[in-house]
């Protein structure tokens, strides 16, 4: 269970996308499912001596996930997020 939390906390709240890098099998389905291009496959940066790839939140989106993910959360509700639903290993979670 290795958890990477991507996102931030500011005056309006806490917004983190958590990916369990041990569960992630790099199937890429979440990358395709995301309409905003928030996710991508990359080398596991937490394991620099290894050779595995996993899903990550791209650097471009890490400081604005609240806004990047807003189109999938109409009315601010997080129901049936495509990335969470499609993940075979249930590795992906949103904190808001």
């Amino acid at each position: 269970m290795t958890k990477a939390n991507y996102g931030y906390k500011d005056g309006s709240g806490e917004y983190f996308i958590t990916i369990d890098t041990d569960l992630c099998n790099s199937c890429e389905k979440c990358v395709e499912a995301c309409p905003a291009g928030v996710l991508e496959i990359a080398e596991d940066e937490l394991d620099p001596l290894g050779d595995e790839t996993i899903a990550i939140v791209s650097e471009e989106h890490r400081k604005k996930v609240k806004y990047s993910c807003a189109p999938c959360k109409p009315g601010g509700e997080s129901k049936e997020l495509p990335c969470v639903l499609i993940c075979e290993s249930k590795a992906l979670k949103h904190s808001w």
């Binding site: 990477a4 939390n5 394991d47 620099p48």
Partner: protein, 295 residues
């Protein structure tokens, strides 16, 4: 000795370099280096077979490649060791892609965990890195491998920049802030912890009300401690717990974090600002060993 009266630049913390007198680099096998180019400070650490040989810690300028070069040059100063003798350099930190002589860039999250493991020992499972412009909570195993992390780099509250703003406002040298903040009879209410800008305005109001500097500093250190503890709590804390980064040297913040967590953080024997560069230098050594195995 207080630096407060003599220095006008209150935020300017001391830059430093060091050479280990007990190591002769010419007798070493793997000479590796780590350069941590942070948004506020840059460190270069050179290791001989996994032991610290020399290092430097200085302010990052506005140009990352220059910072990396300057830090490296200063670290190597009068050691006789030259860059070409270094087998592998890893760059890390905010400016890690801009270390011109680095063979690879590794995220500072992995480097800080490894560095904390080196500085504080293999019992460390939770690392709080309070850097110049960000704050990281990291969980790791006994080898210093990351098992979880959470970073907040969108906000100055809980970072060195926030502390520098306060040092400047109160005209107290940054090195004295921690000690002064503990010179209060009673802990005051913390200032607003969500924003340095608001906290600064609040502080101005408190000074006008007649609060002494020590009390205002106490209120700010308290707010900072509280802010980082909530970040840590989201990740869960497992003992042993350690703090790295520049603010680890601020006893006012450290003590208040310990009080809130009811845990003691060990005292570092090595400058905690070096954790990232140390981790990077250790990865560099491991990558040399990995390359050798493949050959």
């Amino acid at each position: 000795m207080s630096n407060t009266e003599s220095k006008k630049e209150y935020w300017r913390w001391t830059e430093s370099r060091y050479t280990n007198p007990n190591i002769n680099w010419e007798d070493g096998d793997i000479i590796s280096a780590g350069v941590d180019v942070g948004s506020v400070s840059t460190q270069a650490v050179i290791m001989v077979d996994g032991e610290i040989y020399c290092y430097s810690s200085m302010r990052t300028g506005s140009n990352s490649p220059d910072s990396a070069n300057n830090a490296m040059d200063w670290a190597l100063d009068s050691t006789g060791l030259t860059i070409d003798k270094i087998k592998y350099t890893v760059g890390t930190g905010y400016g890690r892609v801009n270390v011109p002589f680095a063979k690879r860039a590794i995220t500072e999250i992995a480097c800080h965990a490894r560095g904390a493991n080196f500085i504080y020992g293999p019992e460390i499972r939770t690392v709080l890195d309070m850097g110049g412009q960000d704050c990281k909570a990291i969980r790791c195993d006994q080898r210093g491998k990351v098992t979880a992390f959470l970073m907040n780099d969108k906000c100055a509250a809980g970072t060195g920049r926030g502390m520098e703003v306060f040092a400047d406002l109160l005209q107290v040298h940054i090195n004295d802030v921690g000690k002064m903040s503990l010179q209060v009879e009673e802990e005051p209410e913390p200032v607003s912890s969500t924003c340095v800008v608001f906290a600064k305005s609040e502080a101005v109001g408190l000074l006008r009300k007649g609060w002494p500097k020590e009390k205002v500093l106490a209120a700010y250190c308290s707010a900072m401690a509280h802010r980082v503890v909530t970040l840590l709590a989201r990740l869960g804390i497992e003992e042993k717990f350690a703090i790295t980064g520049g603010i680890a040297k601020n006893i006012g913040v450290v003590k208040r974090i310990e009080d809130e967590l009811k845990l003691k953080a060990p005292e570092p024997s090595i400058d905690p600002q070096l954790a990232g560069a140390i981790g990077a230098a250790l990865f560099a050594k491991a990558l040399v060993e990995k390359e050798r195995k493949k050959a």
